[in-house]
Structures are given as structure tokens and as C-alpha cells.
Amino acid sequence: MNVALSKGEIVKAKVHVTLKTGVLDPQGKAIGNALAALGFKGVGDVRQGKFIELEIDETDPDAARALVEKMCVQLLANTVIENYDIELNQ
């Protein structure tokens, strides 16, 4: 969810990149196995993703979101296998 943004403040964007449902995640599986080996019980499916924090030199939240969206499609996520989620903050 987005914090209410007022115009004129530098925008920080938080981007979560996660594997799409159904895409095999061997790293998540390995983490799950390691947790089980440590004795943690009841851990179901584990999925690993990426978290990217960006400072955007753009004070208009709508423009900032559009910009980060473009960055996600072109570089930050591989949309063949990954979803992205953008959160804007001051």
C-alpha cells in the first residue's frame, strides 16, 4: 500500500520482485529444506525474491510510479518469470 504522498517530496521506491506462481523456485525449496533441517516445523512452500530500493529524482508520485514501472519492465524484473510490486514512500 502507498503512503499518501504530497507533491514536492523526493520519492523513494521499494520494488519487490517475486517469481510468478507455478515457476519452479529451487532456491526457495533449498531454503525450506534447510529450515526443516534446523528443526523448524510447519514450514510450507518457500519462495525467494528480490527487494530493490530506489531514490527517484522526481517529486510527482504519479510520474515516479510510471518511471519505476518502466524500469521494472526493462530491467528490474524479467517478466517472463517474475512479477513486480512497487511501493512509493517519502
Partner: protein, 230 residues
């Protein structure tokens, strides 16, 4: 045959491919730094193996944004043959020149060993030196070689003969154990629609000298010279 090898920070098979190309063609390829923005007239462009930009973000993702890639894509779209080996294959999928994606190996291990692959199509400048179904022994060395694409795309690759190489067992059969990395449909290499772009995970340039332990890569480079020499 005039060729060029694109060199990224972290490329490490650029010299190997240069040796293989020079042996086959008699002409040393131009080594082109990734910051360049223009290419000379060429018959073949190669994106070599390695770990461009340390595989940061995703293998090949940062390299796909390098300045030279705009010129590379332009030439590829004009039909100039473009070969991506290992990390070069990852750069090709990340730049959208080939469909799909190369994910972490299913077994989570970096694999460096000889594998067997079958020539799934010899209908290209890259594979015409081989017989269809020919069994080759070629080294692989990768951590992200697990080829994935939507089922509909995999069907299309199969239906249109765009799969170049498939992992196979030593006896040539397609048994699951022969697939080293979990690749969908045992895919080791694919072509683009016009078969002028090839991406493959195995390293043919590491199988061109008896001292390598095998020479099954030679036919790829000699085939390229036969097709492209002017």
C-alpha cells in the same frame, strides 16, 4: 568470414572463442568492448561465455543494457548471424533476441563437465556442419542453464524446428538423467525464428582441440566458415 566477439567486463570465454574462430576462418575476430556503440561490417557476431557484470541482478541482465547491444540487436534484426554461448545465451534471452529465460539449475549446483547433446536441427548456418540427430560431447559450465518458457512457446519452438540442441544420454537416448540442469524439454540451445540467432549453454569453443578432450565443436565453426566466407 569476418567476425566479432563482444567483450563485457566479466566475459571469460572471449579468448577461447577467438582462438576457435581464427582456427576455422584464418582471420582473427575483432574484439569489441561493450561500451562501443557501432560495429564494423561483419559476417558473424558472438556473445561469449563468462559472468558479465558478475551476473548481478540476473545472468545477462546488465550486459543486455550495454551500449553495444543496440548495434548488435540492429544487425541481428538485419539477419547477421549472432551466436550466444552460455552467458551469451543469457544475454540473448535478457535482451529479447531469443524467447524464454535461463533459470538457476534445478539441482542448485554449478555444473562443469562434459555432456552429450543431440543436434536437433542442422538447418542453420551454425549447425549445417553436423548431421541431424548427431550426438556430440561438449563441455558445459554454468549455474543458470535451466531453460524455461511458456508451454505455448515451447510447443512453438518444437513445431517450428527452432530447437538446435537437446541434452541426451551417452547412448543418444533422451533419458531424464542426461538433462544436467532441469531445462524444459531437454533444451540445450535454440534458434530465433529466422535461425540466424543461436543461443546455447554448451561450449563448442572448448571442444576444438584434441587437448580439450574432444573436437566435436569444430564442425560448428567450420560450418559457419563454409556458410559465411566471402
Amino acid at each position: 568470414m569476418k567476425s566479432a566477439v563482444i567483450v563485457f567486463p566479466g566475459s571469460n570465454c572471449d579468448r577461447d572463442i577467438a582462438v576457435a574462430l581464427e582456427r576455422a576462418s584464418g582471420i582473427a575476430p575483432e574484439m569489441i568492448w561493450h561500451r562501443e556503440t557501432a560495429l564494423p561490417l561483419l559476417d558473424l557476431i558472438v556473445l561469449p561465455g563468462g559472468f558479465a557484470f558478475g551476473d548481478y541482478l540476473r545472468g545477462g541482465a546488465i550486459a543486455a543494457c550495454s551500449p553495444i547491444m543496440r548495434a548488435v540487436a540492429e544487425r541481428a534484426n538485419q539477419g547477421v548471424p549472432l551466436l550466444g554461448i552460455c552467458n551469451g545465451f543469457q544475454v540473448l534471452t535478457e535482451s529479447g533476441l531469443l524467447p524464454g529465460v535461463l533459470m538457476r539449475n534445478a539441482g542448485l549446483k554449478y555444473i562443469c563437465r562434459d555432456v552429450h547433446v543431440r543436434v536437433a536441427s542442422n538447418d542453420s548456418v551454425f549447425t549445417q556442419g553436423y548431421a541431424e540427430d548427431q550426438l556430440l560431447r561438449i563441455p558445459i559450465a554454468h549455474n543458470e542453464g535451466n531453460y524455461r518458457a511458456q508451454e505455448s512457446m515451447l510447443d512453438r519452438l518444437e513445431d517450428e524446428g527452432l530447437i538446435a540442441f537437446r541434452y541426451a544420454a551417452r547412448d543418444g537416448s533422451a533419458n531424464g538423467d542426461a538433462n544436467p540442469n532441469g531445462s524444459a524439454r531437454d533444451i540445450a540451445g535454440i534458434f530465433n525464428q529466422s535461425r540466424t540467432v543461436l543461443g546455447l549453454m554448451p561450449h563448442p569453443e572448448r571442444a576444438v582441440d584434441p587437448a580439450h578432450g574432444g573436437t566435436d565443436g569444430v564442425a560448428m565453426f567450420e560450418g559457419l566458415v563454409a556458410a559465411l566466407a566471402r
